[in-house]
């Protein structure tokens, strides 16, 4: 028998599982509800574009396809970063962490470009119920990606300081879970919002 106070500092836990990892999975489960709400709201309002542009008129599918592919590949580089650290390969861990952050930044750059183009074409945040729902959904996702990039850069700084070692690979795994979740949410958004035929004027 051991005291539970040891759990938070040691490696033993009541469930036999890492509490930090379990917490991240519970958080991701709750995030399903957040994004579910935003996606449903978009679906309800996508036909209400008033006098503004309709979704089918302004979405640039080839462009968004490229950004989707970039985000998908960032999941590969993230898992390679974790794999490298679990092997004790610090150099490759840093390379893959930086690559993931750069791919994430490229995705965000694409989103900024897309938003700017839409604004120029007359689709502002308050133009119509459709535009509000669209910018809120994709904006929330963009904020999640941006937070992920901050976490990746923190890991990189930690690695450069020599504190991110093989023994602490679970930290990278937890950030990785968050990053992959952001990717799977985009898989959903890309299909439901962009690829399923949208109303036109």
């Amino acid at each position: 028998m051991a005291d539970t106070s040891a759990v938070s500092h040691g490696h033993g836990t009541g469930t036999g599982l890492s509490n930090n990892k379990l917490l991240m999975w519970v958080f991701l489960g709750s995030e399903c509800l957040l994004f579910g709400g935003l996606i449903s709201t978009y679906l309800i309002y996508r036909s209400r574009f008033a006098d503004g542009p309709a979704p089918g008129d302004i979405f640039d599918i080839p462009f968004t396809s490229v950004s989707s592919f970039v985000l998908l590949m960032s999941s590969l580089t993230m898992v390679l970063a974790l794999s490298a650290l679990q092997r004790g390969d610090i150099r490759n861990n840093r390379v893959w962490l930086l690559t993931t952050a750069m791919l994430g930044s490229l995705f965000i750059g694409g989103q900024v470009y897309e938003f700017t183009t839409f604004m120029r074409e007359g689709l502002g945040y308050s133009t119509s119920p459709f535009s509000s729902a669209f910018f809120t959904l994709t904006g929330f996702h963009g904020v999640h990606v941006s937070l992920g990039i901050v976490m990746l850069m923190s890991l990189l700084v930690s690695s450069l300081r020599g504190t991110l070692t093989k023994e602490r690979s679970e930290t990278v795994e937890i950030v990785g879970l968050y990053w992959h979740f952001v990717d799977v949410v985009w898989i959903f958004i890309f299909t439901v919002i962009y690829l399923v035929p949208s109303p036109t004027t």
Binding site: L22, G29, M78, T191
Partner: protein
């Protein structure tokens, strides 16, 4: 006082260490890339909605669970993690399917 299961540093009971190789991860990414290309291809091909939408949904669900299984390690980790995630997912699906029904989304589109 309670029972605590001790595990070696960086490893916990129920979490397995037999994660895939880098080569396997690359193979998974190639499959995901191919499915994405197929999804995008549907945009350039004229297809009735009754065929297109179920096809897109199938590919989306495949990609979603493929990433969760391989990159998020649900295939190898404790089933407890899967349960927590799936609970959120199922709850969200039920809540928002109900919401869309209330707003007559299925009829109006």
């Amino acid at each position: 006082m309670s029972t605590v299961i001790e595990a070696p540093a960086g490893e916990h009971e129920g979490e397995h260490d037999d994660h895939p190789t880098d080569r396997k991860y690359v193979e998974v990414a190639i499959v995901l890339g191919i499915v994405t290309a197929l999804e995008v291809a549907t945009y350039f091909v004229e297809m009735p909605g009754a065929v297109l939408i179920p096809m897109l949904m199938l590919m989306m669900v495949f990609k979603f669970f493929y990433v969760a299984a391989w990159f998020m390690h649900l295939r190898f980790d404790s089933p407890m993690f899967t349960k927590f995630f799936v609970t959120g997912l199922v709850l969200a699906t039920i809540v928002y399917a109900t919401m869309l029904t209330v707003f007559e989304f299925w009829h109006k589109g």
